[in-house]
Symmetry: C2
């Protein structure tokens, strides 16, 4: 199973994995959303690693962050240049040991990596939803994952694990299905965004919406709002590093030059880094998905929805 | 003199003041810039409050921040809705007491409030410079101010005072003209920007440059890059408040509603605040000036230019 060695040299990987799909809520059924709308049919892309044991007691559900996908570990293909996003953690003998656990990662609804989201085709119009897609919440993401668990016949989760928006899903799972979740590892996350976190997300959203190619969210048949999405990603990347780590990583070092150029353009290393992150992102992510997922994160407020102490009560 | 009462109810104001202009470096002369280019003729807008004493020993030079101007105190006109930006501090009996001191504030070069900058007309082409205007430094701003002091016959400054980019000018004055400056009050400033500060400025600049109306900086005869400038200002405003002050000021409070709307748009108060700041700014500021002044701030590095300990040596 472990014939492929991952590029981070972190030991054996799970090897070849498959991108799987699950669809539910086919009309006239619907997935009822917290905002009042209903959507269907709903498709989720997901990946599983390891084997389900006989009493189905070894299931770990992993959640990805904002821009992630279901491809958490291994390779779709021996020629794939790098493994899934958490290959360093999920694999045989690794932190989340696939020799012991059946590990599932599902792409969230609202995303653009195989699950239903604003870039999906609206069967009623034959065109992509764009901003006709209803706003979703972290709870809605969890409901879709619950439907996948039901489909797989899984009634108990040994652990729910994720970072950032993935951590919000872990927290939501605990409170929404306390009898089903035996443990949780929420990483780098919060029970609700501060004003500062909302501010960063809102400016990033405004950057996308200010791009004339955004076209009120209906851009799938034309030019995409790439410039706006790149700015949004750059704003995000500022928040992913601390002041201190940026000082250590970049300081005031110049990129490929020894003196100031007295021209606009990326001459400090930190400028070059941010521009690179922006450019890379537009090749793999959908601007509307960025809007929907950040909004879901801003809406998330465990105490508001379930009352204070809800996390404590759940255990 | 103190017949006008300012709107902040901070006591008497200096009353009516005048926007003055000073021009120098008329061709064939030039103001030689640190980047190697030369500009001329150079105009500065400035304001003075109080009276110069006989031995010219009571001069205080005040510097404005990024988006400020020379109008530091008083009113241009009795009908002006609010006084100059530092009326709370500069006036009779105030912190910077105009009964005692002759206080000067000059608009910086690169700005758009009367001094020479990218929106000025290039006499060689008859059109606004746009990005043909050369990059400037904090040192260049100080050289222009020095020319104004020479013109006014001022050989000694009792104090140099300013915040943010204005504080950088105060620091530059100390090191560049140590024999001329008797004291300095640099506020909320630094001897050089960290990687994080450069990162925020660069993303703001990218937002302007991503606006198709920016047109490589030559937009003065057409539509202005208002959307990009508004995003840039919103990014700036995030940095003007601390996490803690945003928590106190906004928290997760909603704007004019009691429940989430499940629509995009400003529903949290912090979102509404940022959008308001962005919209207000485009009415009064030039996008290219934002680019030039933030770049000058990022370039500022007192130790790199004058050696470490240069500030200590100056006193």
């Amino acid at each position: 199973m472990s014939e492929y060695i991952d590029q981070n040299q972190t030991g054996a990987t799970i090897g070849i994995v498959e991108k799987q799909f699950f669809s539910f809520a086919a009309p006239p059924d619907k997935l009822n959303l917290e905002g009042g709308a209903g959507i269907g049919p709903v498709t989720l892309a997901y990946e599983t690693c390891g084997f389900l044991n006989q009493d189905k007691s070894n299931v770990i559900l992993v959640f990805h962050a904002l821009s992630g996908d279901s491809h958490m570990a291994g390779y779709y293909d021996p020629k794939e240049p790098k493994p899934g996003w958490w290959d360093i953690m999920v694999g045989p003998g690794k932190g989340i040991d696939t020799d012991k656990y059946f590990v599932i990662c599902s792409n969230i609804i609202g995303s653009c990596a195989g699950s239903m989201g604003p870039s999906s085709i609206n069967l009623e119009t034959g065109k992509a939803y764009g901003t006709d897609f209803p706003l979703i919440t972290i709870g809605d993401m969890v409901e879709a994952q619950k439907a996948l668990m039901d489909y797989l016949g899984i009634k108990s989760l040994l652990s729910v694990i994720g970072g950032s928006i993935g951590g919000m899903q872990a927290l939501e799972w605990i409170v929404r299905y306390p009898g089903m979740v035996r443990s949780a590892i929420p990483l780098a996350t919060t029970t609700r965004h501060s004003a500062l976190a909302i501010a960063f997300n809102e400016v990033a959203r405004q950057a996308i919406m200010a791009d004339p190619n955004w076209n009120e969210g209906h851009y799938y048949s034309g030019k995409k709002p790439d410039m706006g999405l790149a700015i949004a990603r750059m704003i995000g990347h500022i928040t992913y590093l601390s002041d201190e780590s940026m000082r250590k990583k970049f300081g005031r070092k110049l990129q490929n030059r020894s003196a100031l150029s007295f021209e606009f353009g990326a001459e400090f290393q930190v400028e070059s880094y941010l521009q690179h992150q922006g450019k890379k992102f537009i090749e793999r992510f959908d601007a509307n998905s960025f809007l929907y997922i950040t909004k879901a994160a801003d809406y998330f407020d465990l105490a508001r929805q379930y009352g204070s102490g809800s996390l404590v009560k759940a255990f």
